[in-house]
Structures are given as structure tokens and as C-alpha cells.
């Protein structure tokens, strides 16, 4: 049966995770990365209220750790990653410093974006990570980065991560069209978590066949169970490898689920958009739990190793909070400089200074034609 949100639960609890796909060492690293991401998100969620020191919208990604964890093991710093508003996983995937993520959310000057952007607009240019809140905006920009790499024959690839909600946008299909037409080195990663905020995909789209649709534009695609971390890793690895060999573009649709609310720590269940039974299914089939069971069963992990990992992560998270809370708030002395660079070293090198007020106004305007 083809995977989709409507078929996943019919199959029953997922039993197919196979750490050997990735190999033991990678599987353990995947587990560790997912656990790190999970714990930092939980810590942020739990600290959010009543402290109220994080004063920005945060779209947590609890339950959606498999894709970011896999990407974190597959991308180089030089690759570009453009993320949607649910950004922490992708920020993490690019290996950008977590203390700067925390400081950003706390609005401190040591934040990745100096406290100017917050969780949903954070970027870390030296890690080649960018995000933004407007759906599919980052997808379009990713297309341009892929074009730049292709034109300049650079070895990097461009990756963009987003949810199925972004595929409602016309901008998304413009990007798919151009990527397919130009065979761009661009990887689209759809984390299909079924809901755009509280709206079911099938309320907004004729069907959930995103893959079939992008294939028609010349973008090859794969749909997978997105909580099977070794499978996610293997699939992304294959596609990234093909992209690096000028065999792009590709789209991977990973079916997954956010266990938290759309935004913030508050429960959004009042909107009645998902059932308790559905949430329980996904809790049982969360990517960390699925992989951990197999790793423990095969002896690659045990309680002691997990406890050690938890302790290391707890310390890392505590350090991030300390860093954020002890950092100063930003000050702005020049609003204009914040918005305009003003320097132009390239123009200084290439262009002469000239000025001329000479102008003959006794000329008629151009007579236009139909075209």
C-alpha cells in the first residue's frame, strides 16, 4: 500500500525500522542527534511559561526529529539549507551553534541573528542556514542558490525544508517548475505532518499526491515513512549523492507528525483538528522510540549508554540556557546601518566617479508601440 497519512495508521504500528540500513555507528549517531533535538525542544517548551523570557513565536518540532537528524549527518557546512518557520530542526541540521539559537529566542545580542529575527526568521550565514515564516518563500530562494551553484559549477547543493502546507502556495510550484526545467542541484524535503496549522491537507488539496505532481514537472520524488530514521537517512543520502553528481532535482516527502501544538507550548486541542487516537499512534511511533527499541534489542544501545547521552545533552541544554540568559540585550545605534550596508568595495574597485547635469530637455518622449 502506498504511504500517506490516510494509509499509515491502517498498517498499524510501524515495525520496519532496520538500523543495519545505515549501519550501527550511523544509527547510534542518528539516535543521539534526534535525542538532542528532542530534549532541547522540550526544554524550551517547558521553560517558555511562566518565565516568559522567550518573547517570540516558536514552532516546535517535537516528533519530527528524523529528517533534521539525518541531514545533520549528510550535509556539509558549504551546502545551503533554507527552512520554513519550524526552523529549529533545520538550524540544528546545519550544525549551527545551539547556544546562539537559544540566545536568539531570548532576544539577546549574542543570538544567531542578534536578537532581531527570533525563532521563525533565524539565520546563521556562516553555517549557510536561512529561514523565514512566509510559506514557500525560502523554497524560492533555495532555487536561486541551486542556480548559482550550477552556473558557477560549484560542488555544493541547495536543500529546502518545509511542510506540506507550503505546497498550497503558487510560489512553490514556480520553484518546482524551474528546478525541473533547469535540472537544478536542489533537494526539496517535505515533512508532511498532515496539518497546515489546524487544517488537514485534504481540506486544502485535491489529494495528497505531492510526489506525483512534482514528477510531472521533472522533479523525481520519493515518499517514505518519515519517522524511520535509518530509512530517512538512506533516502536522503542517495538523493544528496545524486545531486552532487549533477543529477537533480529531487523531492523527498517524509510522512511525520508534530507531537506539539502548531506554535508555542500551549495546547491547541481546542481546535479539534486531530483525534486523541491519532496522537497516541504517533507517540507510539515517534522516531526516537522506534529506533531506540531496535538499537536496544540488537545491543547497540543499553540503558547505561542512553543515560550517559541524556546527561551530556542535559548539560548542553543547561549551558545554552546559561549562555542565553547571561547575554545582554541588543542596542541599536544606527537603524539605517541595520538595514543598509552602504559600503561598496566592488563598485569602488570597478567604477570611476562621474557626474553630469547636462541634459537636453527639448526631446520628445519615446513613442511606444503595441509591444
Amino acid at each position: 500500500m502506498e504511504i500517506s497519512h490516510s494509509t499509515i495508521r491502517q498498517i498499524g504500528d510501524y515495525r520496519l525500522v532496520n538500523p543495519e540500513i545505515a549501519g550501527g555507528e550511523i544509527a547510534i549517531r542518528l539516535h543521539y542527534q534526534m535525542l538532542r533535538l528532542r530534549r532541547l525542544e522540550e526544554a524550551l517548551r517547558d521553560e517558555y511559561h511562566p518565565a516568559d523570557e522567550m518573547r517570540c513565536p516558536i514552532h516546535f518540532c517535537i516528533g519530527q526529529e528524523a529528517v533534521p537528524a539525518a541531514l545533520s549527518l549528510l550535509l556539509s557546512t558549504e551546502d545551503f539549507l533554507f527552512s520554513h518557520h519550524r526552523s529549529h530542526g533545520y538550524y540544528f541540521a546545519k550544525g549551527a551553534p545551539l547556544n546562539e539559537l537559544f540566545a536568539e529566542i531570548y532576544g539577546r545580542k549574542t543570538g544567531a541573528s542578534g536578537g532581531l529575527a527570533g525563532s521563525q526568521d533565524i539565520s546563521h550565514p556562516s553555517s549557510n542556514f536561512y529561514s523565514g515564516a512566509i510559506l514557500s518563500g525560502a523554497v524560492s530562494i533555495a532555487t536561486g542558490a541551486a542556480f548559482g551553484f550550477q552556473l558557477q559549477k560549484k560542488p555544493q547543493i541547495s536543500v529546502t525544508g518545509f511542510g506540506e502546507g507550503a505546497t498550497d502556495e503558487g510560489a512553490f510550484w514556480e520553484a518546482v517548475n524551474h528546478a525541473g526545467a533547469k535540472k537544478l542541484p536542489l533537494l526539496f524535503v517535505v515533512e508532511n505532518n498532515r496539518y497546515a496549522t489546524f487544517s488537514d491537507q485534504l481540506k486544502r488539496q485535491n489529494s495528497d499526491n505531492i510526489c506525483e505532481r512534482v514528477e510531472a514537472f521533472g522533479v523525481r520524488s520519493k515518499k517514505i515513512f518519515g519517522n524511520d530514521a535509518p530509512l530517512v537517512w538512506q533516502t536522503l543520502k542517495d538523493e544528496i549523492s545524486r545531486l552532487r553528481n549533477d543529477d537533480g532535482p529531487a523531492l523527498v516527502e517524509a510522512y511525520t507528525y508534530r507531537l506539539n501544538s502548531h506554535v508555542g507550548p500551549e495546547d491547541d486541542g481546542i481546535n479539534n483538528y486531530r483525534t486523541q487516537e491519532e496522537m497516541e499512534f504517533w507517540k507510539r511511533n515517534c522516531p526516537i522510540r522506534l529506533l531506540q527499541e531496535k538499537l536496544v534489542a540488537t545491543g547497540l544501545l543499553n540503558e547505561k549508554l542512553i543515560a550517559e547521552a541524556e546527561e551530556t545533552i542535559a548539560q548542553e541544554v543547561a549551558n545554552c540556557f546559561d549562555f542565553a540568559k547571561s547575554s545582554s540585550f541588543p542596542k541599536v545605534s544606527d537603524w539605517r546601518a541595520l538595514n543598509f550596508n552602504g559600503n561598496s568595495p566592488c563598485a569602488d574597485a570597478f567604477l570611476a566617479e562621474e557626474n553630469s547635469a547636462i541634459f537636453n530637455p527639448a526631446q520628445s518622449e519615446a513613442k511606444l508601440a503595441p509591444y
Binding site: A146, G170, W335, N339, A347, F359, Q363, E365
Partner: protein, 325 residues
């Protein structure tokens, strides 16, 4: 005699020179690779630099703007071309939510080196979807530079300056100007943003004229000169940044202000310029500031109505006379 070329040829020459100076410069737009070449401004460039660097783009304006931004992050300096500004409006998200705030959002760490060329039709029944300028919309945005070159000289210098600077810019080109010829130096040069030009010195009244309003303002000044009315014509050349100092300095000298703005009357560039002057001079002005603008109406197609809709030197002369009353 100094070499003269047209406004369109000046844009083409600037683009050609930019592409020769740096392999990072690319031109994207619908039909940029055709012989017609965006009214002659890109003609021949595809043959010279190849179809990758002079790239016909899908009819996806929003994508083009966003992709230009993405490509600039990889080191490119794209020039994107819109034959008609109106079509560009699909890219308001890319411009407003991404391009203009890219530097801000990255805490000054990342630059979006994108030049947008947008052409504004006028006449021959271009009508309401081929003739909007909207420069005041764009000038309102932090983070986006806005140029309104009125002459071939400025068209070349501002385009080169924009391409080789670190901030994004939109250059709004009045198509009525494309045939006008002027002395343009052959070598690559820059006209800096934020530097207004006093095109004609005078003592009785300051006329600040923007873009396609510069030629009629100059003609009005020449006509009134013969009557002994001395008009100073200031061309701001760019609206963001706006050279407020030069405008205020001129008006301080003349104490009278007329603004000729090729946009709608309300909430426009003229409003901003008059406000700037009155904030500085207040009751020292000897007249109420005058605006010469388009009516608060969309552009009509009929040639009979076009004549009524677009102000010319006669309307500017009337405004100057009102200022001198």
C-alpha cells in the same frame, strides 16, 4: 563632440560592461535573450555572454526575485528585468518579506546583491496594468534602494552602482525616456545613490522633479526663464536614500517649492518631499508647496484621456505660477 547615446543604449552599455567586469553578473528576465532585448536594453548580450548568464526566465516573477536573492548568496550579482513593473507585483512577497529585510534579519551578516530593473509604460494606451510606477511604495520599505534615473547618463551610472554595491535596489525606468539621447561617457562609472542633482540653477522657485517629470520640468524652467522667472530644478535621482539636504538647501534659497512626481497624488513621493521641506522651513516658505502629480486614479487607455491624465510642462508652469502668486 561628446558621444551621445540613448537611455536604452546606456542601460545596455552598463549591463554589458558590468558583465565584462565580473563573471558574477547575470541577467534574468522574460525575453532578455531575444533580439528585441527588453526595448533594446539587453540586445546582443546573450550572444556575447551565453544563455546561462543572460537567461530567459519562466513567467514566474515572484520566483525570479526570490531566486535572484538566493543566487546572490552564492556570489552572483543578478540583474532582473521586468518589461512592465505591473507584472512584477507577484514578487511583492519576495521584495517585501525577503529581499528588503535580508540584511536586517541576518543582523548585518548577509547581503542581497540584487538589482531589479522595472520599466513603467506611458502612452499608446498602456492603460492601468502597464503604467504603474509605485516608486513611493518601494521607497517606503527599509532595506531597498530606489532609483528613478531621468537621463541616459544617470541610467548607466546608477545601474552600474547598483550592480556593484552590497544592497538590493530597484531601478524604475520610465519607458518614455528610452529614446532620449545624452552625453554618456564610454567607460564604466558610478552615480551614487542619495545624491540629488541641481539640473538648473535658479532663485525664484525650486522644482523637485522625479524620473519622467524631469524633462517637462526642465522645459517649463526654460520657458519661464524667458519671462524672467528663475526656476531651480532639482532631480533627486534616488528616492531611497533621498538627498533631503540638497532639496532643503535649494528651497531655503528660493523659499518656494513645487514637486513634480510621476505618481498618484496621495501618499506619494511628493508628499514626503514637501513634508521634509516644511519640517525644516515651516513658515519661512513664501508659498504653499505645490504638487504636480497624476490624479488619484488608475491610468486610462484612451489617448484623449491620457492627455488629461499625464501632467506636462504646462501643468508645471501653472504650479510654478501658483507658487509665485
Amino acid at each position: 563632440m561628446a558621444r551621445e547615446i540613448s537611455y536604452a543604449e546606456a542601460i545596455r552599455e552598463a549591463t554589458d560592461q558590468a558583465m565584462a567586469l565580473s563573471n558574477d553578473v547575470v541577467v534574468l528576465g522574460q525575453l532578455v535573450d531575444t533580439p528585441a532585448g527588453i526595448f533594446g536594453t539587453t540586445t546582443g548580450l546573450a550572444g556575447k555572454y551565453g544563455l546561462e548568464r543572460v537567461q530567459d526566465y519562466p513567467v514566474s516573477e515572484n520566483l525570479m526575485t526570490a531566486a535572484a536573492l538566493g543566487s546572490s548568496l552564492t556570489g552572483l550579482r543578478p540583474i532582473i528585468c521586468h518589461q512592465r513593473l505591473d507584472f512584477m507585483l507577484y514578487s511583492l512577497d519576495a521584495i517585501t518579506n525577503w529581499l528588503a529585510l535580508w540584511r536586517f534579519k541576518s543582523n548585518e551578516k548577509s547581503s542581497a546583491r540584487v538589482t531589479i530593473r522595472a520599466i513603467v509604460g506611458k502612452g499608446w494606451g498602456q492603460g492601468p496594468q502597464h503604467s504603474k510606477s509605485l516608486h513611493s511604495w518601494f521607497a517606503h520599505l527599509p532595506g531597498l534602494r530606489v532609483a528613478m534615473p531621468a537621463t541616459a547618463f544617470d541610467a548607466k551610472g546608477l545601474l552600474l552602482e547598483s550592480v556593484f554595491s552590497e544592497d538590493p535596489a530597484i531601478i524604475i525606468e520610465g519607458r518614455g525616456l528610452f529614446s532620449m539621447r545624452e552625453h554618456v561617457p564610454e567607460h564604466p562609472y558610478r552615480v551614487r545613490f542619495g545624491q540629488a542633482l541641481v539640473r538648473k540653477e535658479g532663485f525664484d522657485v525650486t522644482v523637485v522633479a522625479i524620473g519622467v517629470m524631469v524633462p517637462p520640468a526642465m522645459r517649463a524652467a526654460a520657458i519661464l526663464d524667458k519671462e524672467g522667472i528663475s526656476v531651480e530644478v532639482v532631480d533627486p535621482r534616488t528616492l531611497n536614500p533621498l538627498d533631503r539636504e540638497t532639496i532643503v538647501k535649494s528651497t531655503t534659497k528660493t523659499s518656494r517649492l513645487v514637486v513634480a512626481d510621476p505618481g498618484w497624488h496621495s501618499f506619494g513621493a511628493a508628499t514626503e518631499i514637501i513634508t521634509t521641506v516644511t519640517e525644516s522651513m515651516g513658515t519661512q516658505l513664501l508659498c504653499n508647496p505645490q504638487r504636480v502629480t497624476y490624479p488619484d486614479s488608475h491610468t486610462p487607455m484612451s489617448m484623449a484621456l491620457e492627455k488629461e491624465y499625464y501632467p506636462n510642462e504646462q501643468e508645471i508652469i501653472l504650479a510654478i505660477r501658483r507658487a509665485l502668486e
